[in-house]
């Protein structure tokens, strides 16, 4: 048994942590989030230069060969820094599909520039009627000669506005909720027939609604086998669930630390409010919630790194934990900051909003508790 991280892993954490501490303070983050693009294209190139965008890809793909543990370590730091650059959308989601399915030609065309930070991409994993079920796909891909015609609507496409490449799961066969019959297409963001309605999200990230009207794609745009896309989609969303859970752990630990600091310094009734037992016990409870969340996160990262048969369950376990315990920590942090906790000016509010997003992303607590129960 060994919970320590390797030297390479420590270097990775160190590199991200130093960046957050030195170059990504809250004011900088707020300026970036408020900009038109909503993220810094310059910093995104920096992330690539530092090798972060290469972490989860194999060495033969030009990556660093990292896995779930490396992903977890980075995402915790991104959480702490409230990073808005589209790492999840580009690297974990779109990159996750390409790493698993792209042919050598497709990798050269899309994955190389993605890792180099020169191409933005998105995976359209959600449809308006589907809620959290990634197999609930009404978008169709109809054969038309050598081509396919895509029709349908995708919602909450993370990084969908900036994406030059969209990965679109569409139905080539089967009923609306069937696992079989889903095919993954890579299309240009500005392809004829694609309409994007981009928006800022409440957490400062970027999303888009994407409508597809007779979008013509050729066979070379198919990722993997026709009708066999679900398995990959499922694996990628699992990895993304782990990633946002790690981000959430980074967030609640930061919120906990800041709240403890706040109650030590905020004086009312002539004493720091942290001297009140009513508040002390609540902060002990939130500390326990943070630690338990971190423990489940480690379980999820390790079982997934090892490919153990508990890997699936562990992902739903940590996401359930985030949807309950982490939400609790976030609410308490706001409450104990009093009025300041609900001001735009303070980072606590923005941590809270990101936790609210993560609470929903890839399935809320109920969804994952059901899933966990089904896997037992």
């Amino acid at each position: 048994m060994d919970f320590s991280i390797s030297e390479e892993q420590a270097m990775l954490v160190d590199s991200v942590a130093k960046f957050i501490d030195n170059d990504y303070d809250f004011e900088t983050r707020q300026k970036i989030a408020a900009s038109d693009a909503g993220f810094s294209a310059d910093l995104w190139r920096t992330y690539a230069e530092l090798g972060w965008t290469a972490v989860p890809f194999s060495e033969e793909d030009g990556g660093l060969g990292g896995g779930p543990v490396e992903l977890m370590l980075m995402m915790e730091q991104f959480g702490r820094g409230l990073v808005v650059e589209p790492f999840l959308a580009n690297i974990v989601l779109a990159g996750g599909v390409m790493r698993r399915l792209a042919t050598a030609d497709q990798k050269k065309k899309w994955l190389d520039p993605l890792i180099a930070g020169e191409l933005h991409a998105a995976l359209a994993f959600a449809e308006p009627q589907g809620r959290f079920d990634i197999a609930n796909i009404a978008t169709t891909a109809r054969p038309d000669g050598q081509d396919y015609l895509l029709n349908g609507k995708k919602t909450l496409v993370l990084n969908g506005g900036a994406a030059e490449l969209l990965v679109i799961p569409a139905r080539t066969d089967g009923g609306q909720k069937d696992h079989s019959g889903i095919t993954l297409f890579a299309i240009r963001g500005d392809a004829p027939g694609v309409t994007r309605n981009s928006f800022k999200m409440v957490d400062g990230h970027q999303g888009a609604e994407v409508s597809l009207t007779d979008v013509r794609v050729d066979g070379a745009s198919i990722l993997g086998e026709v009708g066999q896309g679900y398995e990959t989609l499922h694996a990628v969303i699992g990895e993304a669930t782990l990633a946002v859970s790690a981000e959430a752990v980074g967030i609640i630990r930061a919120m906990q630390d800041k709240t403890v600091e706040y109650v030590k310094n905020r004086v009312q009734f002539g004493v720091p409010i942290g001297s009140f037992q009513a508040l002390q016990h609540r902060l002990v409870d939130t500390l326990m919630a943070c630690e338990q969340s971190y423990s489940l996160l480690l379980w999820a990262a390790m079982t997934n790194a090892a490919g153990s048969d508990e890997a699936e369950k562990a992902i739903s376990a940590i996401k359930y934990q985030i949807g309950t315990a982490a939400v609790h920590v976030a609410r308490e942090a706001v409450q104990l900051h009093g009025g300041m906790g609900v001001t735009w000016e303070l980072d606590i509010a923005h941590f809270f909003k990101r936790i609210t997003s993560i609470e929903l992303l890839f399935g809320n607590a109920d969804y994952h508790l059901d899933r966990y129960a089904g896997l037992s």
């Binding site: 409440v202 706001v334 009093g338 609900v342 001001t343 735009w344 809270f352 609210t356 929903l360």
Partner: protein
Amino acid sequence: MNVNLSAEELAFRDEVRKFFAEKYPADIRYKTDNGIELERDDYIRWQKILYQQGWAAINWPVEYGGTGWTAVQKYIFANEIAEANAPDMVAFGVKMVAPIIYTFGDDEQKKRFLPDILQSNVWWCQGYSEPGSGSDLASLKMRADRDGDHYIVNGTKTWTTLGHMADWIFCLVRTSSDVARRQEGISFLLIDMSTPGVSVKPIITIEGDREVNEVHFENVSVPVENLIGEEGKGWTYGKVLLQHERTNLAGTARSKFRMRRLKAKTTQSVHGAEPLMKDRNFARKFAATEIELKALEYTDLRTLAAVATGKAPGPESSILKIRGTEVAQAIDALYVEAAGYYSLPFVPSQYAVDFPLQDRIGAGSESRSSLRYFNNRKASIYGGSNEIQRNIVSKHVLGL
């Protein structure tokens, strides 16, 4: 023992319902139904309609223009105004400062201030909290130093809700530091916000709106006739007001309305999905919240019945504040869950009057649900935080 309405009360309910159906302006209703912020003029126009009807000040004594309604009539009114999705009177004038003025003010002050409050000619805001004085309000530092027939006021008030719309502010100020108990040096002062030296700075809240402000006072000269009651008694007056504020915080009528709306939304298909209420998990959570709300409503009714027999609202009102805000926040969370991914787009521009509803991202006001959820985290913080309320219950109810 029953909670049935009498024939007279039913007739009264119908009258109130008819009034809202006929007199609540359609353009304002369009806004409240579709998640669009009201402007200052909307509030004033609506409040003047209530005034014309004689229903602007339902809690005031009849002699000052109140309704003279029974507790049950007030309860009926609260339900109907919520059902109409019409805004309440903005609280600061009619519900907060006016009771202080007619209870502790002199005749001159009553004549000077009450009619303008009743007719919504003057917009009031509240100056209690300060940057260093939140839960510990009695530590407030804003000074009012006597200089002939004026006070010279210096200091800062914060969390001033709608202060940027207000004409006047009522403040707790420190008139003396040379007292045994710090509460004794506090006075209740009314200040015209157009007086030189008053400046209002916005505080942007978590959801991105300007709702609250910081109000700065620099050598603001306030005539002594704006002092309510006796110098040094402001704390006592203010406490009465705070207690009054607390009785208005359970918000059961609004919560009931929001639950009914949510039920309507979740029992039908949105975006072509299965009705969410068919999801057992959601249905159970909804039911649990409904049960909690029913309990709250009955607790509220019990308090109402006690008040009807002449008992003043006591520390029990803290229970209503605690549970009322907790239930409201639980409902906010249900709305977010119901909207799912559609609660995440942040698109304030689509909540403008001229923005076509069908072009919005999300059905109806879905993308507004998270903003309301964020904003309403304040409910367990303001009006005496729920921690302070628990202290009150523990001290005054349990005697601990």
